[in-house]
Amino acid sequence: MKHARSLLLKDQRPLSRKATAMRYSALSLLWNGLRGNRDWRPAWRQPQPKPHYDVIIVGGGGHGLAAAYYLAKEFGIANVAVLEKSYIGSGNVGRNTTIIRSNYLLPGNNPFYELSMKLWEGLERDFNFNAMISQRGVLNLYHSDAQRDAYMRRGNAMRLHGVDAELLDRDDVRRMVPFLDFDNARFPIKGGLLQRRGGTVRHDAVAWGYARGADRHGVDIIQGCEVTGIRRENGRVAGVETSRGFIGCGKLALAAAGNSSEVARMADLKLPLESHVLQAFVSEGLKPFIDGVVTFGAGHFYVSQSDKGGLVFGGDIDGYNSYAQRGNLATVEHVAEAGKAMIPALSRVRVLRAWGGIMDMSMDGSPIIDRTPIDNLYLNAGWCYGGFKATPASGFCFAHLLARGVPHETAAAFRLDRFRRGHLIDEKGQGAQPNLH
């Protein structure tokens, strides 16, 4: 498995910064266990903010922490602070359905998400934290010839980029997941598009692994620090006002997901984003019920099973602008209806918990990693509900942009001005209406 450096930065020599904290291993577990687990050290420090950093990243979620990690580890920029108004991972990285995949259609997206997939594949050894990356497959069902053709197009686009994709017929799907409702009275299942390398990741662990990794490379992770203003001097960003005072910076990098519009407003920047609530759900713990990720093609429903045993599933966004991190009963019912339509045996399974995340829905359904018109202000946003799977590549490409001033080649299409210029990356073809993406 390759790491980011060998994948992407063939021109760069490995950095020799020595990690100071304890490495995790079976041996360290054994050693500490025998010593009564007294000697475990904090996974990351709780530093006081310094007066000035080369880079301040706003948002201690997956993308912000990953950007900090790669900045320090791959680009040698370690004088970095990640400011998080709550606790790290309190946003979408800790409230999603944990799915990773790179089954994208458009050339603007496809290489980026495949980069992400490759980074996932080496991530745990890279940051020395078991995030339970589990490539048990992502299967998208189709129910009509039109859907099959659309998946044919998508699967071929994936293949053209060397991404694994298989178009399964009904019998193939039946062999994999025999308990689906193949003869659904309304929308029989006719087959599916399978990406075997897709799967799931223990989402919180991604935030923790990156935080611990970034911390080991010298990044200050400052929790409970809310950005309240962006100070500009001579038109350039000079630093941020925070709940813990002013902190100066060379570059300011926004990775605030659903709160991006609010943070950008502090710099008088209006974004092509709307914030929407997406609900997700988990069932009671069950013995192994379903192996990989399966998505329904005749309604909004996708499901996988966590290693702990809960079925993790979700559906469509509620549809209205919201910052509330909670959803609506009607949507809950729609999700359950679609779930039971796909797997009738779910009927007796009980849903344990519902939660909501705030999605930074962009106007074409694709993300933005770019400079902004304001000097020293950089933006990473617009992840819609696809942000989790993008975490490694997003962090890496954002770090690349911050360190080198130019977009990474796989993120070259994610420009902020593409809307103005008309170079959209619209996977669903829904146009400038975020709640349809």
Partner: protein
Amino acid sequence: MASLVPCPHCGPRPKEEFTIKGAALPRPAPTADPAEWFDYVYLRDNPRGSYAEYWHHTAGCRRWLVVSRDTITHQVAACRDAAAQGHAA
């Protein structure tokens, strides 16, 4: 309040009767600058707090409404027929 929407024509009705379009913005004049058109089609205030959106009472009176909601509490402050907007604005 998004479980029930107070339609000015039909009274409080469940959310799933409605189709939500998005920000209720005035459409620029045909002669407006391209930048103004770009703002209208692509940029959004997207505030925490009060926000006006177009909701269509699709399974009811089939009128387009302007729903003024708080995006944190979901409380609806006002809901009026979209055709009345021109006069108000």
